[in-house]
Amino acid sequence: MTALLELEGLTKAYPGVVANDDVSFAIARGGVHALLGENGAGKSTLVKTIYGLVKPDRGRMRLDGYPFAPTEPREARAAGVAMVFQHFSLFDALSVAENVALGMETPPPIRDLARRIRAVSEEYGLPLDPARRVGDLSAGERQRVEIVRCLLQEPRLLIMDEPTSVLTPQEVGILFATLRQLSAQGTSILYISHKLEEIRALCDAATILRGGRVVGGCDPRETSAAELAERMVGAKLSAPKAGGGAPGDTLLRVEALSLPPLSQFGMPLREVSFELRAGEVLGIGGVAGNGQDELLAALSGERLATPGSVVFEGADVSRLGPVARRRAGLLTGPEERLGHAAAPDMTLTENAALTGAARKGMLRRGFLDWGRARDFADEVIARFDVRTPGAGVAARSLSGGNLQKFVIGREVLQEPRVLVVNQPTWGVDAAAAGAIRQALLDLAAGGAGVIVVSQDLDELLEISDRFAALNAGRLGTPVPTAELTMERVGLMLGGAHDMEATHA
């Protein structure tokens, strides 16, 4: 196979950090090439360079042997480079076809476009109805809209940024079949992921980035996941270990909890019931938008529930607000770091007081003791290895992974009786994710109850004692994790949408 895209000595520096340092590698025609690395390793900058969003300081690229230096995405697209971003840019209120048309420079009439969408989606086994409203689609289906949008350009190189983080195992299967088919037809794929097993299953070449430099390439099919991880991080990783204590008394009982949706495109909670016991980690899986935000809000006290539906240590807390629940020992960590778990423009000290004021003795007759808030922030920074110049910087200046360590650490160090977290390691690199998971396990080992809501099934299977699936606002019966297989989990999640249309 000859190379489709060659990168030579790409270098891009930002103030204070070299994002890419002399990066060189080649992507084979029809190859599925993995780009591996932790957060901050320079993967995003590199793909943005290829897609024309970032102009490199030095180095050059060759596409098909010809110099390739796109100054904007339009040029990259014209040259045959397409990209599916981690965050979708779709309008909920518009139909699939209208969304696709919005991304085109000269969109054909909607009816022709719908026909083409249907043709492409059938050809590649990506079932998609062009007339449906995007707001009603699952995350997997939304991703298909983005992929189909790319495929309509008949790309020669398709870049996929963390595509499976929002998919059920079955949806991952569908996606992989599509990618293999594309590769067989000669389309090259640049695949970015944290999930090493996936890369080993899908990719035929890999480039590993660390600190902006290429630290090596390999054939992932012949390299173990552990070895890949070590080369990514540059150190040996240890898997989190559970304390293994026997579950104790019931700490939290949720009974027939129903709530209307948060927004027009939200999901109502329907008769959610479960129990959480001391020393236990309960994993709640499900594809995004199945009621996770609503469940978190009902547990944190941001939304009040019907009396008797949330019982914490024998007391009905369903009508109590966040402050009262925190005082009682029921703590939560929402998914959205910036703007929900933390105020972006406030300092880490202020953000430490945001949830820690009551439990960490920062309040005296309504007055805040900023000295104690600062001490608490410093403690979180030290114990959770938050990389920051100090507690006085604004939350938004921290990288996603570091801020995540801060907001999780802030709750863990308040010694909760029950901690509920949503997507605790979303967008966090392997080392930080390991530290966060270990902290959650330690908390449970210390006798607290922990609920982890996540879309990362590997994570849930790794750390939870019991697993339940949230699907369309309903929570299934929790099952001991030891008895589960990936297939079973997939079925619990409600299965992939339109399973019958896969590559049977």
Binding site: E302, H340, A343, M346, G366, F367
Partner: protein, 360 residues
């Protein structure tokens, strides 16, 4: 090509420098405006900014500065607290008027008694009047979800009519044979708010403004309520997560700013203005909005901004009298100050990049 690039952390240096830059730009643009009106711009600016503070008649003007600055600072200190939370009380002018009417009415009910309790009673009633007038938009917002900007603003015009009816009707001085306006409260000892130190312009309103500024400063920097107010303004979702009840915040912020505006009205009507009259409303409630922003919504900054604005008032009157600059031009000049401040504000959150660079 000029582009704006978001700063990772807001620049403190620009945050402090932008009001100064805004003042400088206002002087330049204002100078051009005065030149276009056929006046000597240097002379005009000197008359507005220099004469009241350092000029020949400064001894007279300086007292006027405190008299003008006190209500501005008192009202702006309250407004700024709400603005920090994203609660926009635009109707302080109405609360100022109602506070003055309520306080004056309470006092006049006991005329001609000379009890020392009358003035304190008037202060309480003035505060209460402003508070209750501000509670109308607050309660409507909390219960019905109405927009507090519109409701509070429209209530200014209701208050204006209330003022007119009081001045010509139910509060009219019975001894004034047909002239509109209430009894002169400044000349009735029980209700007077006199100069506390002769020649300084310092009256009880100045004292109240100083106390309000200190209170606001402590509230915003040390108290949980102030923290919640800032949180709600910057990150509403994080505020709800922290346990802030939005309704309570609306009631608190509107109530407090109304109370302070009412107090400002009371001190004005018992002191510098002297009586409830048809033209009692002088726009302090609106100008205070400019003062609040010019002072960076910061209580201490508001003191400086209030004094600066008082200079433009006093100097503006001076310029109107001596140079014949129309009053509207002075108002436009004051408006420019807010305009340039908001424009320059961008610099504290964004960095200006000139030339063609890559998108990050």
């Amino acid at each position: 090509m000029i582009r704006l690039e978001r700063r990772p952390t807001p620049s403190r240096a620009w945050g402090a420098a932008s009001p100064l830059l805004a003042v400088a730009l206002t002087m330049m643009a204002g100078g051009l405006m005065f030149a276009a009106l056929g006046k000597d711009p240097v002379e005009a600016l000197r008359t507005i900014f220099w004469d009241p503070v350092m000029g020949e008649f400064a001894w007279y003007f300086r007292a006027q500065l405190l008299v003008k600055a006190a209500p501005l600072v008192l009202i702006a200190a309250g407004l700024a607290i709400g603005f920090r939370a994203g609660i926009w009380n635009i109707g302080a002018e109405g609360q100022y008027i109602v506070g003055a009417i309520a306080g004056a009415a309470a006092g006049l009910a006991f005329h001609p008694s000379e009890s020392v309790l009358i003035f304190p009673l008037m202060v309480v009633c003035g505060a209460l009047g402003g508070f209750l007038w501000a509670m109308i938009p607050a309660v409507l917002k909390v219960t019905l979800g109405t927009n507090e900007i519109l409701v509070s603003l429209m209530l200014v015009y209701v208050a204006d009519n209330l003022l007119a009816s009081a001045a010509v009707g139910w509060l009219r001085n019975p001894e004034a044979v047909g002239f509109p306006g209430s009894r002169n409260l400044a000349q009735w000892e029980a209700s007077a708010n006199p100069e506390l130190i002769a020649g300084t312009g310092m009256h009880w309103g100045v004292v109240a403004a100083v106390i309000a500024v200190i209170f606001a400063h402590v509230l915003m920097t040390r108290h949980l309520m102030g923290f919640h107010i800032r949180l709600a303004g910057q990150a509403p979702r994080a505020a709800r997560f922290a346990g802030v009840a939005p309704a309570r915040l609306v009631l608190f912020c509107l109530g407090l700013s109304g109370l302070l505006a009412g107090l400002a009205g009371l001190f004005e009507v018992t002191g510098p203005a002297g009586q409830i009259s048809i033209d009692f409303a002088s726009g302090y409630g609106f100008t205070a909005i400019i003062v609040a922003f010019l002072g960076r919504l910061n209580p201490l900054g508001i003191v400086a901004a209030g004094l600066l604005m008082a200079v433009t008032y006093v100097g503006g009157d001076n310029a109107a009298a001596n140079l014949g600059i129309p009053g509207a031009a002075i108002s436009a000049f004051q408006g420019m100050l807010l305009f340039f401040l908001l424009a320059v504000d961008v610099l504290s959150n964004f960095r200006v990049r000139v030339g063609r660079g890559a998108l990050a």
